[in-house]
Amino acid sequence: MTNRTPALELRRVNKWFGAVHANKDISLSVDRGTIHGIIGENGAGKSTLMSIVYGFYQADEGDILINGDICHIDNPQASIAAGIGMVHQHFMLVDTFTVLENIILGVEGGARLGEGLAKARTELARLEKEYSLDVDVDALVGDLPVGLRQRVEILKALYRGAEILILDEPTGVLTPQEADHLFRILNTLRDQGKTVILITHKLREIMAITDNVSVMRRGAMVAHVSTKDTDRERLAELMVGRTVLLQVEKPTAQVGDTLMQVTGLNFIDAEGVQRLKNINLEIKAGEILGVAGVSGNGQSELLEILAGTISPSSGNIIYKGEDITRSSKKNARDLRKIGLGHVPEDRHRSGLVLPFTANENTILGYQDSPDYNRGTTLDKASMIKACEDHIEKFDVRPPDPNLQASGFSGGNQQKLVLAREMEQNPDVLLVGQPTRGVDIGAIEFIHKQLIKMRDAGKAILVVSVEIDEVMSLSDRIAVMFDGYIVGELDAKDATETKLGLMMAGIADDADTDPAADKGAAE
């Protein structure tokens, strides 16, 4: 199979954005009927390269060959005609349209919709059957969960006759179960002779599903390897350019007093849905408590209640011996003053003000502190000094305190938020998704910082949807499902299978029958 003409070949492709050399002399060859991974850190040029293939941008130099023929792809239409389909990271769907309407958009087959819709309906029924992609074509896309929306995107590409399917960071928005389902779909596509290109920065996915992998670093292609001849550590090293520790080393926890105690916490949101159900938790000094769970099972609400940004419907939170929900109700600002730091889950929505400069973001939440004020005005010099200090300690790049927050990469933005909260030296630190959208080099750094803080006797709560992260960071793990804490276990006893079952709400404690464990793992 590999001896035939490659389905897609790139020859010395170059692309500049102004002075930035986004793609340097890229050559790539993708065999037909394979799943080919392209891995690299954020900003390595993966998405730019694929946008060139899809005709969103034009290469400044170089050739694109499809099935051995040079193709001039200068717009998405040319790319579609050449048999390329793309599933974008942010779905290109119209929420108010049905699945059917979304799929025929651009290939309506005539000025009147009637016939086109009828034809598409039969054709889609065939495609759904052939690739086992079940979707109700009359459902409104806005009502579908993300996993199904992605399936609509795949169907859209197949309906347009795609032979080469490019998926850009497809699992970023998926739960582990949905991701596994996607992988099964991709395997079916490969078995039916389609070529799949998977762009990702997640090593697990590359190892799980690809046949070959190409690694990009700073705009250049640094390696092409066969997946079976490599491993996670080697790929990580190629991506970052230095050795990376995927598993943080940490000494045994020296557990101290309980700093935060949560009893019988319930929360009903504005729509009347009960998001939290009888939550009991203890957060102790010198320990990292990990909260695992598929996104949307109440973790976000728990974090926000603990941080004081929303109020629980019932239940108590005792912080340092004081009930902060009732008698002396405290909001997020009061809590910050008494040593409770909070790194929000969504740094763009609540962690940073993106159009503000780094130094302005450095004082958010602490803007009243005498450190940053001189009389009635802000003390710009001390703000910049604090920011420079954070930048140095957390290795933020570029090291410019006057750059807008939006000008930093995701990992560096996260470092700015972490630095702000950690440098206030809180006693309890709540961290939501510490490494979402963060490069592996920076992940290693952030994990080390959290461990260091734990070893200094601080209490840390980490909420994360990444099982690997929860397992490697935590000393104790609480698993949430449907608003309940369905189980709590020592990190030493945790396995991916055990946690996965608890996250799916199948097993409600750690002592699951090992036979059932094994069955569900496959």
Partner: protein, 323 residues
């Protein structure tokens, strides 16, 4: 029967007042559904009213006048597109600029050309659109209720009233049953989806705005060559804004928008009817208050009674390809 006749008279007036509102709100629907805010409906109507009256007067034909009105409105619409689509300018500012420009330019030109205090000459004979009598209208007049309604309410309007009535199902059909409509709705919700489907966002928005121009041109021409018989300065009197309000009230959907237009027109017709009428208990209501009623109603409806309106998601945002 007396009451029924009053009702028919009021409804008759309602249709005539609603005509420009319906046409303008259908016009706005194409623009806004494609993601371009069109606060310039007012200016486009006013420009079309002026052009139609001027050309009708010079050419002696209402139809030539209508053509000129449409051309003027389309030209203004293209100006809006050039500013907002090609150059990604602020859509509200561009629309407002068009309104102010037209409001100033039309009386100035009218004064320079006709020396009639900013008006155009009164239109006579074929220079304006006249009422049409539908077949059998006179024959069935004496049949109670149905025949009377047909003769007095359905028959006896000028051609543009009927065009406005037809425009609603036609616009609905275009928007929901054709390729062009599907694309217009898509580009107003998620232009990125349209772009990745290999369709030009800009060309599509230009096309939608051209349709807006045509419909708005008919609405404006109606004011000066059918409803009225000359151009008078500021003769649109906020009808463009009212049409926009009806569009929002109708949640950007053809049929509810039609009803919103009829409601606004109905209050206006009642208002005319109620001037100086001695009502039980309250007595004579001041004319100013009654005249203000349609606008008060607009504010109340938009503020409280519309409920959650879901505008096209990408409305007001110029489309910029992500890097």
């Amino acid at each position: 029967m007396e009451l029924f006749q009053i009702f028919i008279t009021i409804m008759d007036a309602t249709f005539r007042v609603a005509t420009p509102l319906i046409l303008a709100s259908m016009a706005g629907m194409f623009s806004e559904r494609s993601g371009v805010v069109d606060i310039g409906l007012e200016g486009k109507m006013l420009g079309a009213a002026f052009a139609a009256a001027t050309i009708a007067s010079l050419s002696g034909s209402a139809w030539v006048g209508l053509g000129a009105g449409i051309l003027t409105s389309v030209a203004l619409s293209m100006l809006h597109a050039y500013a907002c689509v090609t150059h990604k300018g602020n859509q509200v500012v561009s629309g407002m600029a068009i309104n102010i420009m037209v409001a100033g330019l039309t009386p100035t030109l009218a004064f320079a050309w006709f020396r009639m205090g900013g008006q155009t000459p009164a239109l006579k004979g074929d220079e304006r659109f006249h009422s049409l009598t539908l077949p059998f209208a006179d024959a069935v007049r004496d049949i109670p209720v149905i025949g009377y309604t047909y003769a007095e309410l359905i028959s006896g309007h000028n051609i543009i009233v009927y065009i406005a009535a037809a425009s609603v199902p036609i616009c609905a059909w275009i928007l929901f049953r054709t390729r062009f409509g599907l694309r217009v709705r898509a580009v107003g919700e998620n232009p990125h989806a349209v772009d990745t489907a290999g369709i030009s966002v800009n060309v599509l928005r230009y096309q939608a705005l051209a349709v807006t121009g045509v419909l708005c041109g008919i609405a404006g021409s109606y004011l000066s060559t059918a409803h009225g018989a000359a151009f008078i300065r500021d003769m649109t009197a906020g009808k463009g804004y009212l049409a926009l309000a009806a569009l929002i009230f109708g949640k950007w959907k053809p049929l509810p928008t039609l009803f919103a237009c009829l409601l606004f027109a109905f209050t206006d017709a009642v208002q005319v009817r109620m001037q100086g009428v001695d009502l039980p208990i309250v007595g004579v209501i001041p004319g100013q208050f009654i005249q203000a009623l349609p606008y008060i109603l607009t504010v109340l409806l938009l503020a409280g009674f519309v409920g959650k309106a879901n505008p096209p998601k990408a409305i007001g945002q110029p489309y910029i390809k992500e890097k």
